[in-house]
Assembly symmetry: C3
Homo-oligomer: 670 residues x 3
């Protein structure tokens, strides 16, 4: 698929290089502004423009009324200017007349709250009424524009499931029952077993008695909650598939939708979605609520590349500066935009698109920055955008190259749902927290990493990191064991392998799925409270978790020196076949985690990229012939790194100097 | 109006001096207590008593049943004792039979929660059923007592909108649609433009499709929210007007209702209400949740005087000690009651009334202090009340005098709603936070300040402070520009002038409405996170906000020395006509803000009151002939201030000594 | 009753000694596991097993369908092994078919949220539909197993009211009205007086207009809330009584249900329940959210013994290690399980049962520890359980002995509800906070304490502590006064005696009910904010509260040296008859509180147990002949204590050494 995808992305860029694009909402502006918009797009080199994303109330202002005149004009203008179009199906939010006529399509919260229109996505994803009306919109759009030469990509809906992923209305409940009948093959006993309904008198005697896991008085059935997550992801995917089917029947243009691989979205299992996308596209914004926003960016970019199977992908939305939906919407620091964009491209993006073209003056996102700021053309922000366009243009030759990694991190949305279910051992254990810690340790150590799905082929990976992979099937666990047998080094961390696909605890000693591989047998969790740290006998410190376990066939590399598991092992190693399986029962400090990864990498024969540190992010993209080294100095000090080649940023021979805050993209001498 | 208002207030006081009053709920007590109450009122000098505020269930205990016997008796007792009556219309909370018979009048929250009876104000303000029944109550009351010689003031309902200002029921939604049709002259396109409904597919094709901005899944349309605030304030005002019309048709006694100009109430735009009041009355309680409760008191008192157009006003409710509705209901410190009351009178109050006469032993406010405490007559609290009565009596000659101010602060409820709307740049920016900071700086610098409405005539003000006036019309902005041209010094702070009356961002560079006046052009907001401070090149420190802007026709007085806008201007000055326009792009520390105000005051030729500091509050009231200096020492140290005249507190010639915690009210020698 | 209860408990233990038991949910496991379970039970000495607690959906899987086959088999297996059965009535949670067929039985929250099935207790306690179906379940169970020789105890429902105590549905509202008619003898005026409905226009003209105190816009009527608490406790008790009546009609086996005397449950007034229990049984888990979890355990155990009238009781549920429903479910430290169990037995438990036998692999509590952990038999946890079984066996002779105490603490659920009602002086005053502080001071001083109900006979108690007993009747207060007259020393702390049984403040000076006894007259509360401390003139420090009061007939023992009541008394003493009445107007630091208690104990002639400290918990159980000293070293250091006798823990002669973390249970030499 990879080559094909590269080709597909290449068609989205005027020059066949990297895509530079944006969302464009011309309906917010007077027609007199439109030609000005096109002029500025050309000035900056914007080559791909997404339109009609929220077009419903414009093209279908009331029931049965259709008005494509404005859209015709916009498409004409863009086409005349040689700008390609990423055409939205227009179904991202229903027009007000629809929800007014059919309030029964409004989504309902866990506690029964009906969510009203006024924002966006005010519909139940399972609603047949919504689906029918949306299908008509898509059909009208594709019939009108499916053959238009400027239309280069179909943009189904928008950020599907961003807000309405979990709906608890009666329509959703009926759909859930239908989904369960299918999953369990109409076998109620199978469902009762899967959910463990003998607990708390929950055994069902009829599928008709099953409800969504709405708010209850106490902890709820975790199996029901887990299946509701699976159902909810599938319902959103079904919305995509329904639209994609309509489009593909009538158009040959590639189809996609924008994913949200980012810290605060967790309801969509994109592993099950990726195969339906002709191009993987992701929306990503720095989340300033995190301790390490740019670390999250790097992880998300690697995961997006994983969804693309290693092939290039599109950053479909990002911001030039502050967003508007966080508590404190910080401006980007000088050079931060360039560093962010470089990190995305370094990790496989072949296109960078922004939300949005021109900053709105009204509506909920009027304080979201854009390519053209409120201040207009005569502004530092616009000048930075033009510069960025130039850089992307110079980087054109990078398009189609790939990131090579010897290390892999396993990631699973199902595990995320399972590990953060109700009634868990510790609220201090968050799935992303563990993933981010592991990914940061790898990055700090200069190890480029793929992010892969449990069960994925691990051939070629010499270092495999499995952080807190709570839910895993036996077959998926076996893939890891085989990789170790074949010579890989695997680091498996606490809370991995605890439950099977039904969220059923494996008995006989944790971590059930990995007990034999690791040569350990764990008896009791001993989580730490916030602020609590423990010391390990190797001098490292750790937090979040400890555990009482014994080795059965492993070497104790470090033990807990204090804390609730004092005296017991903390880090163990077992040689298995040609490889090694390590277990880590706590979360080391950032530096200690980096040191551990460095040690494992050395054992595994994985060479770090020279010069990479916590502050200096370095990633290489290459193809059979050429290679490009992306060097990003996130720190406050200049760095000296050995670089040989041509710097595409300065368009000059590379020197070793990477000034504080600077980006260097070196076409390396072969 | 001013003179007339003074006269009106004078009629409320037995001696024509300051009013000393209270709420009185005799129905909570056995009849045997009533004569005792009257005796104690006379002992303390209480001259105005508010009754029947929550009378509905007493005078109209069930549908169609009316019983005025107790009220007749109370009125007779008070009248016989020469005590004047502030007669409540009795509609503040419906009787239980009404909500039981008509549950559809219950108010509904944003998330659909129906609010039950059990507290107070359990009605939808737009309910025609409630309005009809309330009208009958008012009519019965005025017909019975409208000519009674003791009745001196009509007290419409009570704290209108304190709890039920924002109702999201279907009745409210219908009323909202009606209000919108009127506001937009039945022009749906005008509404669509005003709300920017092209964003997120929100364009309406019928007024019937519009709903209240109830809970949504995402950020909501800010224009809809802003108009809903306007509507909600208007609906409460309509309740007032309906009752006032009934009263005025049948009685010549002045009509008012008690405002809540205080930190935690923001839903009523009292600028639009003030003209309907025969006397401005305010309820104020120290809010111990604030960092500076008494600073808020001073600001609220100045704002109340602004609502009265500079004329005297009534403090209609306050407490002798702790209230019962804050998390920690602190007792007042020794002398604090006197200091609070002195601050109110200093800033224009011609009357001080308390909630309530006798501390309840039951009900939700039984731990709210009162004039007569639970301990009864033999108590320090009662003795302090009697002393306070004596002081108010001695201060009688102050009645009718006015506060003179050369400085004005602009304040707007619409701006409050707009700046704290959803999706804003920073939750760290609160409107009151900015107002309080500016007012404290003025007060600390000894500058007495009026608080005025945007658009108000600014003639006579030499110093004009415009803190965070986010929403302002072009015409209102022009008034400020003209004042500067005519010689005033204006300080305009960040986030001012950003949006127009439709909450639409002015493009071309912030702050749109003041860009030319200030000679600056701002491109990007750069808010600070909590706890973050920045240094300015003039040595001051600041927090909350910074901004990236350039001067176009202004002098940089201070620049940001660090932080996200480092190197750019922070404080600028532009000479415009005979005046100066300053822009402040951050919130200085309290001392630095004071120093800045002192500098501006000097430039403006506004002389501070000698001796005023952060701890020593000094305000002057005067008329053509006499002047009274109120000196309040809030600090822990004695102060020496040059005072010449007669001290009405000690009833002795003034000395310069103002002991820690003491109040001095000096009738100044001419 | 005591002797009878001891006998009853003795029948639950195989050997007539202490009971060792657990909850057993065999339906969660394959039949092949059951014989293994029985074998392990015998290994550990488990003698009493609770089954069928959540049996409804198993024995009555759909309407009208009954299936007792599995239960028959389980009972047979246990009986054959000589294990006694604590038979659940099976009604703890309705089967899914019932709530699906009758969604009107679902409980409703304060804000109208309908609570869905998915957890447990998803029923309105007042629902006649639920009650009818539950009665049929109980009837079927008792008819089938009432005469079975293994059935030794009836376990009605489970943790009644744990989640569904407060239901706000219309069925509950109707039941509440019925309950009110009965309470007030159909006299509406009496209700209006009791609730003080003249406040805020709340006077009722018909019982039909009264509602539950659902969510309101403002503070609600506290009298209504208090009565709703009483009603809600009574409704849960009615559920118990209905089942108990069915059981007793058909079976001679003792009947009980498991109480939840623990920090986070406050809706059941167990003083009114205790008389209906044939054996008092309590569920207790360490609450790690508290500052002092094991202090709470000791208090709860003493209170449970108080509910048993001093007789032995059963710990019906506890955990071997972590639970799963707290934010951070900490493992027990080494030896902590033994220390916890020893504390329960020391304070009167004659049986220790665990939730649950075998750790679940599914359902909401799969991470709750159990006797048989996930790791299985070969685990430290299981070995510790077997050891514990041995210890309990050796302690058999303790059964039937009693704790002797010269001190009593008064405790009242009604006071808890009243003092934490809305609109109170300070949210910093929590009832349990005050109880725990007083109990810890007593325990730290080595004073063993009974916890008794207001109004209980106080004969024999020389030291009586009355912490924050906000609501008390005159008669109950008189009992305390008489005890003092007769020679006891009473310590009454702030907020005691403020209101009567109608939550009506007693006027004339706080604390009304104790004013004369204490010889003080308090005028004003002066609560402290969190983190604020005040100094007393005796050198102690205190927090939470201060108060402005005067002595009328008492000696000032210590005054406030600073803070809002500086200069006024803080601690007073009045000699009354043969005793002394002390008033404490603040909460001393833990050490200062201990010192105060030690002083009072000395005055009262109550001798502390030698060696007891904050870290060394010591309690004695005895009968006419033998006495047993329980010594628990909670500290990190070894202790030396004078002990003479035989140590049942080590089965060796006692030495004085009590190692850090160790337990010693000494059969004392006479």
């Amino acid at each position: 698929m990879a080559a094909a995808v590269s080709d597909r992305i290449a068609t989205l860029s005027a020059g066949g290089g990297l895509v530079f694009g944006c969302d464009y909402n011309p309906e917010q502006w007077d027609r007199s502004v439109w030609p000005e918009d096109v002029r500025l797009m050309q000035q900056a080199g914007v080559g791909l423009v997404a339109i009609n994303i929220f077009g419903w109330s414009s093209i279908n202002p009331s029931r049965g009324v259709w008005d494509f005149s404005a859209l015709d004009e916009i498409i004409g203008l863009l086409h005349a200017a040689g700008i390609r179009i990423n055409l939205g199906t227009g179904t991202a939010s229903p027009a007000p007349w629809l929800t007014a006529a059919h309030p029964e399509i409004l989504p309902v919260g866990e506690d029964g709250t009906v969510f009203h229109p006024g924002g966006r996505q005010a519909y139940c994803p399972s609603s047949p009424i919504f689906r029918d009306y949306a299908a008509e919109v898509v059909t009208r759009v594709v019939e009108r524009y499916g053959d238009h030469p400027a239309v280069s990509l179909w943009h189904v809906s928008n950020e599907l499931g961003c807000h309405n992923a979990l709906c608890y209305c009666t329509t959703s409940a009926a759909a859930f029952r239908g989904w369960l009948r299918e999953r369990y093959d109409d076998d109620l006993d199978a469902l009762n077993r899967a959910w463990g309904t003998t607990f708390w008198s929950q055994r069902y005697s009829s599928f008709d008695d099953i409800d969504v896991p709405a708010q209850a008085l106490s902890l709820r059935n975790p199996g029901q909650i887990l299946d509701f997550h699976r159902f909810s992801s599938d319902e959103q995917l079904a919305l995509y598939r329904a639209e994609a089917a309509i489009l593909r029947e009538r158009s040959d243009v590639p189809v996609t939708t924008n994913f949200m691989v980012t810290a605060h979205i967790r309801n969509l299992d994109y592993w099950t979605w990726a195969g339906d996308m002709d191009v993987i596209a992701n929306d990503h914004y720095l989340d300033r609520r995190l301790d390490d926003p740019r670390g999250e960016l790097s992880f998300a970019a690697d995961l997006t590349r994983g969804l693309a199977g290693g092939a290039p992908w599109l950053l479909m939305e990002t911001s030039t500066g502050a967003v508007n939906w966080q508590p404190y919407n910080l401006a980007k620091a000088p050079g931060e935009l360039r560093r962010n964009i470089a990190a995305h491209v370094a990790r496989g993006a072949d296109g960078i698109c922004f939300f949005q073209w021109r900053a709105s003056t009204q509506g909920a996102e009027k304080y979201h920055t854009a390519l053209v700021p409120h201040a207009g053309e005569d502004s530092d922000q616009w000048r930075e955008v033009v510069e960025l366009g130039g850089l992307l243009d110079r980087l054109g030759e990078v398009a189609g190259t790939r990131v090579e990694a010897d290390a892999a991190v396993l990631f699973s949305w199902e595990s995320w749902w399972a590990i953060e279910n109700e009634g868990r051992p510790s609220e201090g254990v968050t799935y992303l927290g563990q993933l981010h810690a592991a990914h940061a340790a790898l990055s700090d150590a200069g190890i480029t990493t793929d992010v892969v799905r449990p069960g994925a082929d691990l051939d070629g990976y010499r270092l495999i990191v499995v952080p807190a992979l709570h839910l895993i099937t036996d077959d998926e666990a076996a893939v890891i064991a085989r990789a170790v047998e074949n010579g890989a080094v695997a680091l498996i961390t606490f809370q991995s392998g605890i439950v099977d696909e039904q969220d059923r605890v494996r008995t006989g000693g944790y971590p059930g799925a990995f007990r034999d591989l690791l040569g350990i047998r764990s008896e009791e969790f001993a989580p730490l409270v916030p602020g609590q740290t423990v010391a390990l006998t190797d001098g490292s410190t750790a937090s979040v978790w400890s555990e009482r376990f014994k080795t059965t066939d492993a070497e104790v590399v470090a033990a807990f020196a204090d804390g609730p598991a004092a005296g017991g092992p903390a880090l163990t190693r077992r040689t298995a076949g040609a490889g090694e399986a390590w277990f880590l029962a706590t979360q080391p400090s950032r530096d200690d985690y980096r040191a551990l990864i460095a040690r494992l990498a050395e054992t595994a024969g994985v060479a770090p990229i020279p010069g990479a540190t916590r502050e200096i992010e370095i990633v290489r993209r290459s193809n059979g012939t050429d290679s490009y080294l992306f060097v990003i100095n996130h720190g406050d000090s200049d760095a000296e790194i050995s670089l040989v080649g041509h710097d595409l940023v300065t368009d000059a021979p590379a020197t070793g100097l990477v000034p504080a805050g600077a980006v260097r993209i070196i076409k390396e001498d072969v």
